[in-house]
């Protein structure tokens, strides 16, 4: 027992006392939210090259083109930084193209020709306003097929159509009303026709101190989604940050024949368990740092109520068992291999198990108490991550479920640690050639 602790302490210090650990601790959350971060960092760096668009206004008298021109002009003024006089956004350059004759063939022909120009790079895209967008008479029989189309070979950049959509829409409405001679002011009609949206919100509550009834905030909508995802991603991240070095450590000890010296002092099972406990302590350290930061941020921004303390306790419990369970499998893989390259071939079944909750995250989040979600969260390898996910989506889960989940996880962990110990015992001394999956299974049952 004492020797196990000696191993665990060394393992812990070896992992925590490195610069790499500190750096990883800081960088990992950045990597996980990397896309968002990069976008945020690059928010000031836009492509400032002028983009050219063609506009075909087929409406009688081409009355919509001036609206576009005006909107673009207003936009172009904002593309230059007033202080530095440097462009910060791309300028838009619009050019009116006379419409073809109003037959389907001619229209198709013109669109093809404009498309060719886009392909050649002469245009960024083009806008095609159909002739009947201003039609108001045939409302009983008329099908709603009049469209304004924006064609481009860069479907991800929609800055231009977004820019002109709103002004174009209100201009069209104005023109239609004018044409219809309704005898009511356009302002009144627009007020009558204003869209009404359904707003998704959390629950209204009573302030615990003042007793005043408080409105649901925006946070009430975001937090119930962000907290579960945050928990799941955190657990996955910590697992990857500790289980992988654990495996690397075993391979390294094998390659440098340290294992042999250690086995002269410690029985193999104690050695393995010591390493596992050491790394579990590392994972809990990382968890404590991240959860501490998250909790502090939650207090700072007033959404601490979405991270109830009992949820934090459950998280730590599940985190610890997840590392023991997966860590033992990673150790078994490490012990069966003779270098890091070989681990790739054996690790995929383990990785599949670890990744499973990530794949299921979306559907479980959508319906956390469906039969499938409940069932999946009792599959021991998925339990730590899925149970905490379900627990953290309001209103949570029946209180017996996490207990049953932990029970199953403990049993599975014992099984994994036992099996890994059997593989470790034989694999750790194996030199020269790595084992195959079948061979590893044989070691488990071989005496």
């Amino acid at each position: 027992m004492r020797k196990m602790l000696v191993i665990a302490v060394r393992e812990y210090l070896a992992a925590v006392r490195t610069k790499a650990f500190l750096i990883t601790l800081i960088i990992m959350p950045m990597l996980m939210s990397g896309a968002l971060l990069v976008e945020w960092l690059l928010r000031d760096y836009h492509d400032t090259k002028t983009k050219k668009f063609a506009v075909v206004d087929r409406t009688p008298g081409a009355r919509l083109y001036p609206v576009i021109e005006k909107a673009v002009q207003a936009y172009n003024e904002k593309t230059i930084d007033p202080a530095t006089h440097k462009p910060i956004m791309p300028r838009f350059d619009v050019e009116q193209t006379p419409p073809s004759t109003n037959t389907p063939e001619a229209i198709a022909e013109q669109r093809l020709e404009l498309s060719q120009q886009v392909r050649k790079g002469e245009l960024f895209g083009f806008l095609d306003i159909e002739a009947d967008v201003l039609e108001v008479e045939k409302y009983e029989t008329g099908k709603q097929k009049e469209t304004i189309r924006y064609q481009s070979n860069r479907p991800t950049n929609l800055d231009f159509p977004r820019l002109i959509e709103k002004p174009l829409q209100s201009a069209i409405q104005d023109l239609r009303m004018e044409k219809a001679h309704l005898g009511v002011s356009p302002e009144k009609i627009r007020w009558i026709m204003r869209p009404t949206s359904v707003q998704a919100m959390g629950l209204t509550r009573r302030h615990p101190v003042t007793g005043a009834i408080e409105e649901a905030t925006l946070m009430d909508r975001i937090a119930p989604v962000m907290v579960p995802i945050g928990f799941l991603v955190l657990m996955f991240m910590v697992l990857m940050m500790t289980a992988t070095p654990l495996m690397q450590g075993v391979v390294e000890e094998k390659m440098q024949r340290i294992a042999e010296v250690l086995l002269g002092s410690v029985p193999p099972f104690d050695l393995m368990l010591g390493k596992l406990l050491g790394m579990t302590a590392v994972s809990l350290t990382i968890t404590a740092v991240y959860l501490g930061c998250a909790y502090w941020a939650a207090r700072q921004y007033n959404f601490v109520e979405y991270i109830p303390p009992d949820l934090l306790v459950w998280f730590v419990v599940f985190q610890a068992f997840a590392l023991l369970m997966y860590g033992s499998l990673f150790i078994a893989v490490g012990a069966a291999c003779t270098d890091m390259k070989e681990t790739q071939n054996l690790l995929w079944p383990v990785m599949l198990l670890v990744m499973l909750p990530m794949f299921l995250m979306g559907s479980v989040l959508q319906e956390p108490n469906s039969t499938v979600a409940v069932g999946l969260s009792f599959f021991p390898f998925a339990t730590p991550m899925l149970m905490i996910l379900r627990q953290s989506v309001p209103p949570g889960v029946p209180s017996w479920q996490p207990f049953l989940g932990v029970g199953l996880v403990v049993l599975t962990t014992l099984l994994c640690v036992w099996a890994a110990g059997r593989i470790f015992r034989i694999g750790i001394l194996l030199q020269g050639k790595g084992a195959k999956l079948g061979e590893m299974l044989r070691w488990v049952f071989h005496d």
């Binding site: 000696v6 191993i7 060394r10 070896a14 440098q256 024949r257 042999e260 010296v261 250690l262 002092s265």
Partner: protein, 308 residues
């Protein structure tokens, strides 16, 4: 009383028989040398004594405790093992590594002991350096300290002298003798026959998993008898046709004759005197080196069976 008793032990790896019906006894307080060519089963035997491996058949008793998986822990602290391939954590400092290995053997408060050993092996200046900065020889000395730091009763050393310069070899030799004086039993394997001759109370040679020699140096040399004669004549002559000469080895300045059992050296000398002037005639006992080569030389097996 034996420190190690091995009775009829066999260990097989897949098809390969590494140790074949081996029996031997290591007396307490002795220095016991394992010799034998590469791949003859020395390391496997040491690992089995250490309980890193378990024999397929046979019994190994270490410090009067039979080895089986159940009492594995009971003697681990009393036995230490220096493997042939050195294993130290490269990122750890010398002192930390030593403290770690001492604690693994259940030896706490090892600080003063570590300092004394570092001083003894001239490593004090390196105590707070990382292991990866050490030279090969220094790392080996650190590994040796790690082995003996917890004052084990039985010390198993696999090739302790390989890679050491003559100065350090001498230091290590003194240390081993000192440990024996303090009551430890030392078992080591080596390729270096001169070290084995000088240091070992008992020598055991393993060849192809079997024991081929066992006993004190003297008893081994006696067993191989005085069947070797070195002669030097004034003119080089062909000597393999002489009566009772089995084999002639040309050593350059002299020739070594191996005689048939019970051959008379007087008769041989008389014959030699007829061939020329005898400058040198020496009845020599074979060195351990000679005996080793005789047994382990390719194609030597058949010849040795005849000899025995």
């Amino acid at each position: 009383m034996s420190a190690v008793t091995i009775e009829d032990v066999t260990k097989t790896f897949r098809q390969h028989v590494a140790v074949d019906h081996l029996s031997l006894q290591v007396p307490r307080g002795s220095i016991y040398g394992f010799i034998g060519p590469n791949g003859s089963g020395k390391t496997t035997t040491l690992r089995m004594i250490m309980r890193i491996l378990y024999p397929d058949r046979g019994v190994i008793r270490v410090l009067d405790e039979p080895t089986n998986r159940k009492n594995h822990r009971s003697i681990l602290d009393r036995v230490a093992y220096l493997p042939e391939e050195r294993g130290l954590y490269k990122q750890m400092k010398v002192r930390e590594v030593l403290r770690f290995y001492a604690e693994l053997k259940g030896f706490r408060r090892s600080g003063p002991e570590i300092d004394a050993w570092l001083k003894r092996l001239d490593l004090s200046a390196w105590a707070d350096k990382k292991v990866q900065t050490l030279s090969k020889g220094m790392a080996q000395k650190v590994q040796f300290i790690a082995t003996v730091i917890a004052r084990p009763e039985l010390i198993l050393l696999d090739e302790p002298f390989s890679g050491l310069d003559p100065v350090n070899t001498d230091v290590l030799r003194e240390v081993i003798l000192e440990l024996r004086r303090k009551g430890a039993t030392i078992v080591f394997s080596t390729h270096d026959m001169s070290v084995a001759e000088e240091l070992c109370d008992f020598i055991c040679m393993i060849y192809k998993g079997r024991k081929v020699l066992d006993g004190t140096l003297e008893s081994i040399q006696n067993a191989y008898g005085s069947d070797t004669v070195r002669v030097q004549l004034d003119v080089p002559a062909k000597l393999d046709d002489l009566p009772s000469v089995v084999k002639v080895t040309d050593l350059g300045r002299c020739q070594e004759l191996r005689l048939a059992p019970q051959a008379d050296t007087q008769t041989l000398l008389a014959c030699l005197m007829q061939r020329g002037r005898v400058h040198h005639f020496e009845i020599s006992r074979p060195t351990l080196h000679d005996i080793f080569v005789r047994i382990a030389r390719p194609g030597a097996e058949a010849e040795e069976k005849g000899h025995a």
